[in-house]
């Protein structure tokens, strides 16, 4: 039996809980409040600011990360649930100085507008490509249907996922950042 944040005798103690998990390949151990969301912990305690809060209700896709191989909304995930898990955020998808194929493809297709939805869109795209390396247009639309981009770069996302799929098939998973800004 494990108790989190409370002694058996009384509630409302909100005692800190120690949670250990792996994020972007690194073991971390953080003290969290029982009521904290994974979103808050990733952002405020671990500084993973790519994880954005757009709605807090699982309706926009700005805060999604890959946890134990699943794309999940961190705004609707209790932080204590991270215990023992493995989490991947945008910060972890490419080494320093490098871009992942989907990032390169999004730039190659000139899809950048305000950029707020991009971390979620990139994670959802990567999640798709991990499971389905050669998605059709319909499969891309299905996979990104939860990610709202109010600036409306959707058509570019479709092109970018296809392009990234091509890059990956050619064995080009990572690109130098400098290749883009030439």
């Amino acid at each position: 039996m494990s108790e989190v944040g409370a002694s058996r005798a009384s509630w409302n103690t909100y005692r800190d809980v120690e949670v250990s998990f792996k994020v972007n390949g690194k073991e971390v151990r953080v003290r969290v409040k029982p009521y904290e969301r994974l979103l808050d912990v990733l952002r405020n305690k671990l500084g993973l600011l790519s994880v954005k809060e757009g709605c807090g209700r699982g309706e926009c896709g700005s805060c999604v990360v890959i946890m134990n191989g699943k794309l999940i909304p961190t705004c609707l995930t209790l932080a204590v649930r991270a215990e023992g898990s493995e989490i991947l955020t945008l910060e972890g998808i490419a080494p320093e100085g490098k871009l992942h194929a989907i990032q390169k493809a999004l730039l190659d297709t000139y899809s950048m507008q305000c950029g707020f939805c991009f971390p979620g869109v990139i994670m959802a795209s990567k999640y798709l490509l991990d499971k389905n390396p050669d998605p059709t247009e319909d499969e891309i639309r299905d996979a990104l249907d939860g990610n709202i981009c109010r600036c409306g770069s959707y058509l570019r996302f479709i092109k970018a996922v296809k392009l990234a799929s091509k890059y990956i098939k050619e064995g080009k998973v990572f690109f130098d950042e400098s290749e883009v800004l030439r």
């Binding site: 009521y35 952002r43 405020n44 500084g47 600011l49 790519s50 954005k52 809060e53 757009g54 709605c55 807090g56 209700r57 309706e59 926009c60 700005s62 955020t89 945008l90 910060e91 490419a94 871009l99 990032q103 999004l106 730039l107 000139y110 899809s111 950048m112 507008q113 305000c114 950029g115 707020f116 939805c117 991009f118 971390p119 990139i122 891309i140 639309r141 299905d142 990104l144 249907d145 939860g146 990610n147 709202i148 981009c149 109010r150 600036c151 409306g152 770069s153 959707y154 058509l155 570019r156 996302f157 479709i158 950042e177 883009v180 800004l181 030439r182």
Partner: protein, 792 residues
């Protein structure tokens, strides 16, 4: 005595010099300066800065329970004592003036005497934990005296007489709930109506639309040791925010500093609400002496910031047998909700554009904007124009049907061309750049209009097809709304890199990157050398607000001025190094050489270094003010805008007539935006504007119940288009250059939204052969139209 300012001459000189040249950077696809940081997720948006402050406090807004009520008393004692609460702030704690109205002072930051809509704030709770703040907020008790709630603008005025009806005033202190009334009076309308061969009339309705930018409103305020305050804010208009914060705190402008980091979308919505949010954070910071974060939840964002004005309009169009438009009459009522916001200006733009991009010999237009207890309405991409375009373009299709003409034919008969006068008597010349006809032809050709219009008309069965067209024009920048100026500082650093400083903000649209491309072109330095600095009222020059599709045109002109002057000096320095004439100098950073003898060359870095030692300043300030606009309040005659962007949209749709569901297949967008500066930005705007307008056409609508509460205050009940809703979009470009614009450019931020919903509406009407008069075109509305058609 008037002298022509130097900056007009420079902008025109540069236009002439470049008009036939091939551009190196302008009009090409380029990667923005912020691409890498955004794609890596490193770009910081306002709320991301919270992590930098270990002693941060959180501001929670306690909002009213009623949409219309008098406040009899408020008791915050329990909340103040709640553990973890640092301070509860009510109206009486405000050191300066309790007002955040954007244009007129009608909107208290914290309600004192009464509440006027469901988003009104009655108190702020400041605590170390946001949940504690919310818990304490529930302990605040307010005694209200509820008043009748007005949600229908036609309870305030009559549509046909536009006279105010007796009702409980929303703004009793003003004595009337009609905020503004604008008019156009041209020709002898009665005679024209009498003599016309055909007339069509109708009543049209458009909904409240929510911006739904992905980044909710946020501000972080930091109290400074000298009693001033710094605010990091998600805003389109840092200098307006500075004014609002200074007013609420009772500080001078130089004691308030607004910094704008990455902004996650705006679309007009982050014009005025940013004042409120920044003021809340600043107030908390000053009263607690600690950095304060005010961030709206999505639900608060939806109930607590301006919406697109809903419109109810009665229109009558009259034409001759041959299709010549002779008269337009219109009564337009716009629902302003509880506060003025941009309300003095939005109806004005609607008025100016109320007859569409056509030659109209006689017109009578009356537009009023009224207060109700709905969420207040303000600026939203298009700014009053999309509403009247919907009405006008539906009317044009009805007229075509009545005359037995093709909708394109009828429009071509009446559109504005060079040499024509607008309905305001403004003569359009070559100098304005008038590319409407070319846009129509491009859209018609690309969409295979004539063939499909005929073929779709013959389709029967459960899925019908339709194709529709809509045209528009859109006055650039702010016209007579206010002082229309812009400014930019260009700095060439010691290493040859270039910094651009301007108060214009980037919130996704990419227009400040356009400034870099203009400067790159004129200086001869590639865009990769450039960085656009974040707007900061203590460092970047006031460039006016980033609104009204003005950043490229106005900021671009200021950039032309600064770059021109710098280039002149650089050429002189290079001439000194190379020994050829300054006019002979070619800069192609990293190289600089003589045009007449390319073997005589030096490096860009050396020219920059030499300038430093020679004492030639490599910083320049560019200022530009638009030529004055003219407007007669009684007749609507004059020259309301400096120039116009034009466009023609064709939409191709399927309608499932059993369910009423509309599916858009293709949207062809042909735009005359003058010289295309930022190709990537233009294409993304064309697509993004079309998608947002598709939402406006088919699904988006904020609903208020009878008590003035919002029925759909979140993104699962307020629908915006997702990736599966998006059709093929085919962007087409016409470049009818505006001679007084930077390199011939015109504005494009708003126009990309304007006529798309109208084109979809016309396509649906074509598919189901019924008269679409209301947006959004939901399945139920289609079902009702078909059912009523069957009855008659």
């Amino acid at each position: 005595m008037s002298t022509i300012p130097e900056y007009y001459k420079i902008v025109e000189e540069v236009f002439e010099k470049y008009k036939d040249k091939e551009f190196l950077f302008v009009g090409r696809h380029t990667q923005r300066w912020d691409s890498i940081e955004k794609i890596k997720g490193r770009a910081l948006f306002t709320a991301d800065f919270a992590r930098l402050y270990s002693n941060l406090v959180y501001v929670h807004s306690v909002r009213t329970k009623y949409a219309h009520a008098r406040i009899k008393s408020i008791d915050v004692s329990e909340a103040s004592k709640y553990p973890g609460v640092l301070r509860v702030i009510t109206a009486e704690d405000i050191p300066g003036i309790n007002d955040v109205g954007y244009v007129i002072p009608d909107q208290p930051l914290i309600a004192d005497r009464k509440v006027r809509y469901i988003g009104d704030i009655v108190a702020l709770v400041v605590a170390e934990n946001p949940l504690v703040a919310r818990e304490a907020g529930e302990l605040i008790s307010v005694e209200y005296e509820p008043l009748p709630v007005i949600t229908n603008p036609l309870d305030v005025v009559d549509l046909m007489t536009l006279k105010e009806k007796p009702h409980t005033l929303v703004h009793d202190e003003r004595g009337s709930d009609i905020l503004v009334h604008y008019k156009i009076r041209r020709g002898d309308i009665e005679k024209a109506m009498r003599e016309a061969d055909v007339k069509v009339e109708g009543v049209y309705k458009t909904p409240f639309q929510e911006h739904a930018y992905m980044e909710p409103e946020a501000s972080i305020a930091i109290p400074e040791p000298d009693g001033s305050v710094t605010v990091i804010a998600s805003t389109q208009c840092p200098f307006d925010v500075r004014k609002a914060v200074a007013k609420v705190l009772g500080l001078t402008l130089n004691k308030v500093r607004i910094v704008v980091p990455a902004v996650g979308g705006g679309f007009g919505g982050k014009e005025d609400v940013a004042n409120e949010v920044a003021a809340k954070a600043a107030l908390a910071a000053v009263l607690t002496g600690r950095p304060a974060l005010a961030v709206h939840t999505r639900e608060e964002s939806i109930i607590g910031h301006s919406k697109r004005h809903p419109m109810i309009a009665w229109y009558r169009h009259a034409a001759k047998k041959d299709g010549t438009l002779v008269a337009v009459e219109a009564n337009v009522v716009m629902d302003g909700g509880a506060y003025a916001s941009l309300g003095p200006f939005v109806p004005w733009r609607a008025t100016v554009h109320a007859t569409g991009p056509y030659k109209v010999q006689s017109a009578r237009v009356d537009v009023v904007r009224v207060y109700t207890n709905n969420v207040y309405t303000g600026a939203f991409r298009g700014f009053g124009n999309p509403q009247v375009i919907f009405a006008v373009e539906r009317q044009m299709d009805l007229l075509a049907e009545e005359l037995g003409m093709d909708p394109v034919e009828l429009r071509l008969k009446n559109i504005l061309r060079v040499g024509d006068e607008t309905v305001h008597g403004q003569k359009l010349t070559e100098e304005h750049g008038v590319g409407l006809e070319e846009a129509v032809m491009k859209a018609v050709e690309a969409s295979n209009w004539f063939e499909l219009r005929r073929r779709y008309s013959e389709i029967t069965g459960p899925v019908r097809k339709g194709i529709g067209i809509a045209l528009f024009y859109h006055g650039n920048s702010i016209g007579v709304e206010g002082a229309d100026y812009s400014s930019v500082t260009l700095i060439i650093n010691r290493d040859g890199s270039v910094s651009i400083r301007t108060g214009l903000t980037e919130f996704g649209q990419g227009s400040t990157w356009g400034l870099a491309l203009i400067a790159a072109e004129i200086l001869g330095v590639p865009p990769s050398y450039f960085k656009i600095e974040n707007p900061d009222t203590s460092a970047t020059p006031d460039a006016g607000p980033t609104v009204a599709s003005r950043a490229t045109v106005m900021g671009g002109a200021a950039t032309v001025v600064a770059a021109y002057k710098l280039r002149k000096r650089l050429n002189e320095v290079a001439s000194h190094i190379l020994g050829c004439d300054p006019d002979d100098v070619v800069i192609r950073a990293p190289d600089v050489y003589c045009s007449s003898d390319p073997s005589r060359r030096t490096r860009w870095a050396d020219v920059v270094e030499q300038s430093f030692w020679l004492g030639v300043p490599l910083q320049e300030f560019g200022y530009y003010r638009a030529p004055r606009a003219l407007w007669d309040e009684e007749t609507g005659q004059g020259a309301p805008y400096i120039t116009y962007t034009f466009g023609a949209i064709v939409a191709d749709v399927d309608v499932d007539i059993e369910t009423g569901l509309v599916k858009v297949n293709k949207i062809f967008t042909a735009y005359d935006i003058g010289k295309v500066i930022n190709r990537m930005g233009a294409e993304l705007n064309a697509e993004g504007g079309a998608i947002q307008a598709l939402g406006y056409a088919l699904m988006e609508e904020i609903i208020h119940d009878k008590e003035g509460r919002v029925s759909n205050p979140n993104l699962s009940t307020y629908y915006v288009p997702t990736i599966k809703d998006v059709p093929e979009i085919i962007p087409l470009w016409v470049e009818a250059k505006y001679r007084k614009g930077p390199l011939g450019a015109k504005g494009f931020g708003e126009p990309s939204f304007n006529a798309v919903a109208a084109a979809i509406a016309n396509a649906v009407a074509h598919a189901i052969r019924a008269n679409v008069t209301e947006l959004p075109i939901t399945p139920e509305r289609v079902y009702m139209l078909l059912k009523n058609k069957q009855k008659t």
